[in-house]
Amino acid sequence: MIAPIQATGLGKRFGRTWALRDCSIRIPAGKIAGLVGPNGAGKTTFLHLVAGLLSPTAGEVTVFGRSPRSNLLQLLDRIGFVAQDTPLYSGFTVADMLMFGRRLNSRWDQSAAEDRLRSLEIPFDRKISHLSGGQRSQVALALALGKRPELLLMDEPVARLDPLARREFMQGLTEAVAEEGTTVLLSSHVVGDIERVCDYLVIIAGGQVQVAGDIDALLALHHLLVGPRLAGDTRLPGLDVVKEQHTARQSSLWVRGRLPQLPDGWREASLPLEELVITYLSVPGAGSLPKPEPEEALA
């Protein structure tokens, strides 16, 4: 099956700086994928490359098997894109924005978009500039969903919303895409948002993909091992150590993989998602570890 997004050695350079480097990931169809990383990690660059707003400097990215830059029109009808800060025309009314979507997209579903905004009690005759941040984001989402996209890309859609509006937005998103089986890729630097709605995770830092996979599989794969202080460069065989920390008496290892039997004095704890993300983000070189394939991770 053709993946909605497949990147191979993808890189983008602005001037002398690589915003994204050697990025190879595959987002399977039907996933709600979260793209996490600190500010400036390359999340926006990656989303713009997928949406065809940028051309890669190195490698390639395909969307439904096609290159965004050369097949832009066929793809744009199938992609919904909500850019950072949810840009909308501030002089337009909500109804004008829907008309905008209707006039520019061949698969536009007017009644779905209207129903969506009506259920959120967003007045159609209000100007965009007079909407609250949450309402603005909802209009941007309705505009993207009105295209009936097969792939929905969102760049920090809830970054400027308060916790309640965040929750509502994410809730609405999950319901909307569940029916159609839309693939979603959304970026955020808040793990809580991702954890609530996503089933697939891509961690990106310093322009490189650190890890990518099903969240359940990633959680099953990663553990925290705590035991007596390891002497020198002793290694526990059969484990990829993402991060290690030693005190005088004990060693803590954040590991990928599992030992059939733990050595004496060691105990294993599962890693919450937030902890897993922070572990990867705090170790810049972790991305150079062999990446688990989703299949392998599930096994």
Partner: protein, 296 residues
């Protein structure tokens, strides 16, 4: 896309319509007042009636809108309508919204450009034609060459050029205000460069020369565009004076002056309009390239 363009630019459209109508009405009114059929007598060599309408017409003429206004107007259209066309989208980030809809950037850009440009060109043509009528009615004192930039087709070509310049600058710079500065500066440089340097040389000038100093009178060619002041030469061909009359005691043998005859006026209009239109097309081509390839 046409609806979107209308919705986005209807305010500029309304302003252009108001300004354009005012100018057209003023010029048309003066032209009507000057019509020989409405002419009771000459005032200052012009054909004015002395009633209220005639006095209003005189005020309009003194305000010179039919002369300077029409030179400035295309530049303003280029700066205030051309520059924001793409630049404002980039400033507000809405280009990321527009460029991810089911329309190619090329189509998005061309429709916007066409819908904004076409009405302005029609307006410029209407004003330019009214100006021709006005100048025809001004009487023998008026020379078409003195109003070269204010008549159609030059008004149309200048407006197209200014808009293309504004749009291209806006697309390149990505911010409206600096693009406006670039547009106004480049517009002035190109227009003055063409008028001062290129225009006299579109065709080889005709030489008016005579030994009959008493009978020398450039008024013999009332429709001509005189390119230089008369030059006075001595009997051995040495230049005695360039401009004013020769000094006392110098014996002038003959006088030389260059001009473009009046029947070349429309040829010159066509040549310069074509030059400006070609420049405009190059700028539009550049803007298309920049918009479709631009990183967002």
């Amino acid at each position: 896309m046409s609806w979107v363009t209308w919705r986005q630019h209807r305010l500029e459209g309304a302003w252009s319509l108001i300004f354009g109508s005012l100018i057209a009405a003023a010029i048309g009114f003066v032209a009507y007042q000057l019509h020989p059929a409405n002419c009771p007598g000459l005032v200052d060599g012009y054909c004015w009636s002395d009633d209220a309408a005639g006095q209003l017409a005189q005020k309009i003429v003194r305000f010179n809108i039919y002369q300077y206004g029409l030179v400035v107007f295309p530049a303003l259209a280029g700066a205030f309508i051309g520059c924001p066309l793409v630049a404002r989208e980039i400033e507000n980030g809405t280009h990321r919204l527009a460029w991810t809809q089911g329309v190619t950037r090329m189509r998005w850009f061309l429709v916007k450009l066409a819908y904004v440009t076409f009405p302005l060109l029609v307006g410029a043509a209407a004003v330019g034609v009214l100006e021709i009528i006005l100048i025809n009615h001004l009487g023998t004192g008026a020379n078409h060459w003195d109003f070269f930039d204010q008549q159609a087709p030059m008004t149309v070509a200048a407006t197209l050029f200014a808009l293309s310049l504004g749009v291209a600058a806006g697309a390149l710079v990505g911010r409206s205000v600096p693009a406006m500065a670039v547009t106004l500066f480049a517009f002035v440089v190109v227009r003055i460069g063409l008028a001062q340097i290129a225009r006299p040389n579109y065709m080889t000038a005709v030489v008016y020369t005579t030994h009959d100093l008493a009978g020398y009178n450039s008024a013999a060619y009332p429709t001509a565009w005189w390119l230089d002041p008369p030059s006075y030469y001595g009997s051995s061909g040495q230049l005695l004076s360039n401009g004013g009359l020769a000094g006392p005691g110098q014996r002038v043998s003959y006088v030389v002056q260059h001009f473009q005859p009046g029947d070349r006026f429309w040829t010159f209009q066509t040549i310069e309009s074509v030059i400006l239109t070609c420049l405009a097309l190059i700028l539009i081509g550049f803007a298309i390239y920049w918009v479709t390839r631009r990183v967002a």
